[in-house]
Symmetry: C2
Subunit: 177 residues, 2 copies
């Protein structure tokens, strides 16, 4: 289906709402070009350095961490209605062990302005280039949260992605999970 | 006017739009309790550590930096229609040199759930507690941006504020700048 460019924050509400319910798909590929997706439930959106930014959090242990470090690019894809299983698999399996997109029957397409894959079955996607990254600093987070979220020191890297384009299918809103 | 609690992200669109045009007011007070406001044009909003978060960027040199470090609390206030001069003054003058709220005829009120001032003349405000903070790391930002924004090394601290409550006057939407 045709996908049109929309303004960077037109779908913030849907993005935020999905993030806090089923999740979003963070899609990337490494130097070998093989696409991979992981489910994310955390992220920040807004303006920094006069640019539209999507900031995603990826733990150091993740396969996606290696991929984004290799290329400095990612997409965030909003799942459609029938994607509960996709979110489940992409949130529990590692791309080191399986080709998630292939096994789930998903189609990787090349981004429109950034050389990075997105998932065609997702009606809306953001294309981003990493402009800044930082690993969370031990001891700086409130103690109760730190003990709960990082008991083994597997911290998140915060990848600040410059949003280069957001694309939506016609009628995308009604087709989201 | 009565101010009611709304969901953390109900006014994201207005918040983001004002951030990229006139600006928002970042309000804080230090140990002495004296309120101060600065104009901000950058910030990120979303979910981290399962919590609603407003992340604001404050340069190390700013008076507000000292105040937030002292108390770990801030509000973000959305300006109303007639506040162009307020945004101008709060973006160019330092609270070290003048009592901005007093000179501008603004009213500081105590937050509803966080012990931090907000500006009554602003129809919507966020009350936040700092949950994490980190200074931007030299050399990690894309070179062109770093040279443009931080030519003298006056980096931003990113204060991740846990949004404890968002409050809006009735009809607030129509009264924003």
């Amino acid at each position: 289906m045709v996908r049109k460019e929309v303004s960077p924050f037109e779908f913030f509400e849907e993005t935020d709402s999905l993030m806090r319910s089923g999740g979003l798909l963070l899609v990337s590929s490494g130097k070998d070009g093989k696409p991979n997706a992981m489910t994310i439930g955390w992220g920040l959106v807004g303006t920094m350095w006069r640019l539209p930014v999507f900031c995603v959090a990826v733990r150091l242990s993740r396969y996606t961490h290696k991929l984004i470090d290799e290329t400095g690019r990612f997409t965030v894809c909003l799942p459609s209605k029938n994607m509960d299983e996709v979110l489940d698999v992409c949130g529990t399996k590692s791309g080191r062990d399986m080709d998630k997109l292939k096994e789930l029957g998903l189609t990787a397409k090349k981004g429109k302005v950034v050389d990075v894959p997105y998932i065609e079955e997702c009606p809306i996607h953001y294309e981003c280039e990493v402009i800044y990254k930082t690993v969370l600093e031990p001891g700086q987070l409130k103690k109760a949260v730190e003990g709960d979220v990082y008991p083994t020191g597997n911290y998140h890297t915060m990848y600040y992605g410059h949003i280069k384009g957001v694309y939506a299918e016609e009628g995308a809103h009604g087709n989201l999970l």
